[in-house]
Amino acid sequence: MLSDRTSLLALACLTLVRLAPAAELRVNFKADGNSLNDAVAVAVPLDTSHSPEASQPPQATVDQIDKEFVPHVTVVSVGTLVNFPNKDQIRHQVYSFSPAMRFELPLYAGIPAKPLLLDRSGVVTLGCNIHDWMTGYIFVAESPWFAKSGADGVAAIEALPAGRYRLVVWHPRQNDVSSESSHEFTLLEDSKVAENIVLTLKPDFRPRRVPLGGGGGYR
């Protein structure tokens, strides 16, 4: 039997826990029987009474390292400022034709003067006009509750308020890119929900980095 002091302490802790959103959604991504990394999961609240607080910092970074965009997939929420530091010893030229954000950063080294404001949800496909194989993606989520899967294929969205949500999933190589895969679910307070998502992927065709034959040409 607990003492009165211990009971009061337990009750206080329980109250504190109940004040903070504690529901969690874990999405397990698989493709071709293997865990899938760089898959995006976004929980979009359907309950309009929610006033989501931003769970991510307002700035993000997409590096250019060894002539590649790092990370290959970045997830941010609408209104995020994105920096594109060039950590190579040579210049790059970053651009995007995506409807979510069309832009061009002229040839530069180091860090561009101003970060880019992503103010529309959607996918921003990045390229470098000098190194055609360089491809990166920024998924601009319409909700601050999102996660990206790692090598284990798990994207864990934490600190979700209870309520109804629409789960949006996306991967740069998913077969059907015309509409993001999505379905609705309900989260109870303090619940932990797991979803298993299996995606069908298309091959990752990109301009080849290694030349087809020797010759001293850069292409």
Binding site: Q89, I90, R91, Q93, Y95, F97, E104, P106, L107, A109, G127, N129, I130, D132, P203, D204, F205, R206, P207, R208, R209, V210, P211, L212, G213, G214, G215, G216, G217, Y218, R219
Partner: protein, 297 residues
């Protein structure tokens, strides 16, 4: 034909001056391989054709400058060597340089591009009369169509100028034919396409139409000599043989596969069918097969 080293050096230096102010990236690629030619002597008669394999290696090292968002240039030093299995007179080492200027007409991986290239090299053969300067100039227009297909069209000019000439006095007196058989000029137009069969395997196909000089080897053959523009003694394929130069139109059909081992290395296999038609209904057919490993960064 005379080389113009002063003019070439001036052009090379001017191009470098434009490039040097831009930030430079290092360029390197090395290739090692083996190839087989079933008609190494380029004989017109099937019973005179001889085949041989050769080991070859080449290195291109230099710098690349991005001058503007759309334009770039590169300059490389090129070293190459070739070692035949049987016909060692054709063993050679080469040292040269090349420069490329490239412009992209727009933004994105599918924007068309134009490349202007020039190169010069000294080829030193085991059989020294074949030693020659080799010059090449080319303009290439290319474009990607999606992420799997790219097509290029190239117009090229190539010239070789031998280090020294060995005349056959009898032929000079009777036919006015001199011994500069290893001095050649040709122009070519090539179309090449590369298609990614898988994310790692690329299929290449190409066709080249070349017009100009072809060098062949033959024992004494008066009909062939009369059709030649130059003849010189050449024991490469045996004693008492001659190398002769003839004007010909050549069709080259190419097919190849390239397997990307990593971001920097690839294994390549290539087949060339070379069909040349010269004067007096002389024709030359070569089949070449080549395997090589390429590493680049």
């Amino acid at each position: 034909m005379h080389s113009r080293p002063g003019l070439q050096l001036t052009c090379f230096s001017l191009a470098l001056l434009i490039c040097v102010r831009a930030q430079a990236d290092r360029l390197f690629d090395g290739t090692f391989g083996i190839d087989y030619n079933d008609n190494l002597a380029n004989a017109a008669k099937a019973n005179e054709a001889v085949g041989d394999a050769a080991f070859n290696a080449a290195i291109h090292a230099g710098k690349y400058w991005q001058i503007t968002d759309r334009s770039s240039c590169s300059a490389t030093i090129n070293l190459a060597t070739r070692r035949q299995i049987d016909f060692s007179a054709l063993d050679r080492s080469s040292v040269g340089a090349s420069i490329n200027l490239q412009h992209k007409f727009g933004l994105g991986s599918q924007a068309p591009w134009l490349n202007i290239a020039g190169s010069a090299a000294w080829d030193e053969f085991d059989f020294s009369p074949r030693d020659a300067w080799r010059y090449r100039g080319a303009a290439t227009l290319g474009r990607r169509f999606g992420n799997r297909l790219d097509i290029q069209i190239e117009l090229a000019y190539e010239q070789t100028t031998a280090g020294h000439v060995v005349d056959i006095p009898f032929l000079v007196r009777r036919l006015g034919i001199h011994g500069d058989a290893f001095d050649t000029v040709d122009h070519s137009l090539a179309v090449d396409a590369n298609y990614a069969l898988t994310t790692l395997l690329t299929l290449s196909c190409g066709y080249t139409r070349r017009s100009g000089d072809v060098v062949s080897s033959v024992p004494i053959a008066s009909d062939i000599f009369k059709a030649s523009s130059a003849i010189t003694p050449d024991p490469t394929f045996g004693p008492g043989r001659f190398a002769y130069r003839i004007d010909a139109d050549t069709d080259i059909f190419t097919a190849g596969l390239s397997f990307a081992l990593s971001e920097h290395a690839a294994l390549n296999v290539r087949y060339d069918r070379i069909q040349a038609s010269g004067h007096e209904q002389l024709s030359y057919i070569n089949n070449l097969v080549a395997f090589n490993l390429t590493y680049a960064f």
